[in-house]
Amino acid sequence: MSTSLSIKDLQVSIDDKLILKGLNLEVKPGEVHAIMGPNGSGKSTTAYALAGHPAYEVEGGEVWMDGVNLLELSPDERAQMGLFLCFQYPTAIPGISMANFLRTSYNAVKGEEGEDGKKKPIPIAEFRKKLLEKMDLLKMDKSFARRYLNEGFSGGEKKRAEILQMTLLEPKVAILDETDSGLDIDALRIVSEGVNSMLSSERAFIVITHYQRILDYIKPDYVHIMYDGQIILSGGPELALRLEEEGYDNIVKSITQNGNGGN
């Protein structure tokens, strides 16, 4: 079977400080990977670096997707390839309506190329119908589409808006960066249902989370524990439960004392 995403020895720094110190991960279509780890272990850095944030300097390594090294592409090109980052803290942009933004994004990612090589935009009525369907699924009010992008959104609304974008763009690889943070239990259920409705044999998920809670709703096939810029332990869903019981400190201690990873 082919790989969705292949991360090889990825090293990334911010402001000249090395954060990722050789990350390796293979993700295949249909798989759900959870990346867990204590604060400062490099989880969010992994998400931003994969999406191509300019402040994250790639010092070494490769990230392959569909035979292309992602690291050579701009953020918009990565998105067009089918990579999606569900932000922990989505940025507000005043004056741009959700509807306008979503359609622009949809056309950029999903627009079919015409004979002139330019992407053909989806007819507005067709897009509207699609958008309303997806919003319904996430229990979002219609008026949402008229609001400005992320402006004045509550924590839950922001996360729902992120999931809404994911369901519209239908990515091949979706990275969820602490999507559970700041969500109450109802919002968490709705967001998780949105994610679960997207599970498919062609799509891969990387769920980044600090807590095990979201994994009650989104069942991972693999769980990886990240520490000091590397994955130090990988396992099945049971690893998340063990983590919940023993805590990061104990697990990290037991591994680093055995010399299995970290430096």
Partner: protein
């Protein structure tokens, strides 16, 4: 507004010109003889000739203002400008599009006027050079007693109203450029809305400068009688020439008791035009005056639409957008004079500078001693797109009454890396993403424009933005 734009900024969209074809073109430069000649050509009454000469005298006496404009005013060569040009066939305004000469029609075709008219326009007065050559008014407006004419025609057909109000809001001695306009004015619009008449669709006019080194000095006078309403929309476009042109208009507006007037402008002069305009309105008891002012293009724009709140309960608003690119200075803002109690005002200014452009917000809030219980709020935001560009704020506030409420907020920001990254992470290309952020920034003002002007505004901003962020 994510349509891809394939017009380069350097390729100024309206930068075409048609061969000049004129019935009369005065010699270059300004003199008493030329001022008299213009008045004579137009068969004006003696009082208007005298008015012009009064303006000319003051223009000569008044020193060039030395504030604002980054010293660019001193580079204008007044002897190198044609002050009056009359195109062939411009002896009268045309009632029907079919009567308009072909070359002029081509110009308007390229500006997209007829289509616009079909869709939304209640009446079009399009100014080609110095004469208004095409004019149509919906019949029911006429039957309600609304007058919408070019200024020259109104002087012929309604001399008594023109004489009563002309120059009362902005006298010839107001400033150097108002004086210049008074002496050589030609064209512009005259609107009179009778008491209680509410004009639902905006009245619109397009102005256009075609000849090289042509000054354009239109004069607009709007009188909104008691309880009446009008929204007037003006757009300006000039072709590109290598030498400099001067545009110096005067707009006077009187809004009587309970009346309301909105005046919207989108100016998109080519990048060698000096755009020096005096706009002022007087609002009487419980009247409302709103200026919506978009300034793109030009080499130097200095423009501060003003509202004088003359009587109790009057309200004034100024919404201003300015975009300054390479080599451009946009010195814009608004002025409000609270001259009566219980008056209120809002100034909202948004400016964008890029590629070395410079924007200045310059505004005045003046509260007279008797203007008790007045309120004013000023909000000016500047967006700077790169390190070469700059923005200044000069908010003048003169308050002579203690019982007032005045607010002022100013912000300067750069397009943030986080916003760009967020949009790009959704597959949107960098240029489009920048355009979206800028569109969002000016959205509060654009949404106040009639739809087709809002679309044009966004399109113009996209063109100005093209390739600007790399």
């Amino acid at each position: 507004m994510a349509a891809t734009v394939d017009v380069n900024l350097d390729d100024y969209k309206y930068g075409f010109s048609v061969p000049e074809n004129y019935a009369f073109k005065a010699e270059k430069g300004l003199s008493e003889r030329i001022v008299k000649q213009i008045s004579e050509m137009k068969n004006e009454p003696g009082w208007m000739t005298d008015f012009r000469l009064r303006g000319y005298k003051h223009f000569l006496e008044r020193p060039m203002p030395q504030w604002g404009g980054q010293g660019m005013l001193n580079t204008i060569n007044f002897d190198d400008i044609y002050y009056y040009i009359k195109p062939v066939g411009a002896d009268k305004a045309f009632e029907s599009w079919d009567d308009v000469p072909e070359d002029i029609k081509n110009t308007f075709d390229r500006l997209g006027i007829p289509e616009a008219e079909q869709k939304f326009l209640a009446g079009v007065g399009a100014q080609y050079e110095s004469e208004v050559i095409y004019h149509s008014i919906i019949k029911d407006l006429e039957s309600k007693g609304v007058i919408f004419l070019d200024m020259d025609a109104s002087l012929r057909e309604h001399p008594e109203i023109v004489k009563e109000y002309f120059g009362t809001v902005i006298p010839p001695e107001d400033n150097k450029f108002a004086a210049l306009n008074t002496s050589v004015w030609s064209g512009g619009s005259f609107i009179y809305v009778p008491p209680g008449v509410h004009i639902d669709l905006p009245l619109q006019a397009y102005f256009r400068i075609n000849a090289q080194n042509m000054g354009q000095f239109e004069r607009t006078l709007i009188i909104v009688d008691e309880g009446a309403y009008v929204h007037y929309v003006e757009g300006c476009t000039a072709p590109t020439y290598s030498t400099d042109s001067l545009h110096s208009a005067v707009v006077e507006i009187i809004v009587k008791e309970n009346g309301r007037c909105r005046y919207s402008t989108i100016q998109n002069w080519s990048h060698n035009v000096y755009n020096l305009v005096t706009k002022r309105a007087q609002a009487y008891k419980n009247a409302t005056m709103e200026w919506v002012d978009g300034n793109l293009g030009s080499k130097l724009t200095m423009k501060y639409p003003a509202v004088w709140l003359m009587e109790d309960g009057a309200h004034g608003e100024v919404l201003s957008i300015a975009f300054a690119g390479k080599g451009q200075v946009q010195d814009a803002g608004g002025k409000i004079v609270h001259a009566a109690p219980n008056t209120s005002s809002v100034i909202t200014s948004k400016s964008i500078s890029k590629g070395g452009g410079r924007t200045t917000y310059r505004g005045l809030i003046k509260v007279a001693p008797n203007a008790t219980n007045s309120k004013s709020n000023v909000l000016c935001d500047a967006l700077i797109l790169d390190d070469q560009s700059a923005s200044d704020t000069f908010p003048y506030i003169e308050i002579e009454n203690n019982n007032v409420s005045i607010g002022h907020e100013a912000s300067v920001s750069k397009v943030s890396e986080e916003q760009l990254f967020y949009l790009m992470s959704r597959g949107i290309e960098e240029d489009t993403a920048s355009n979206m952020i800028v569109s969002g920034f000016i959205e509060p003002i654009v949404k106040e424009l009639p739809m087709e002007y809002a679309l044009e505004m966004n399109r113009l901003i996209e063109m100005e933005m093209e390739g600007s962020v790399g």
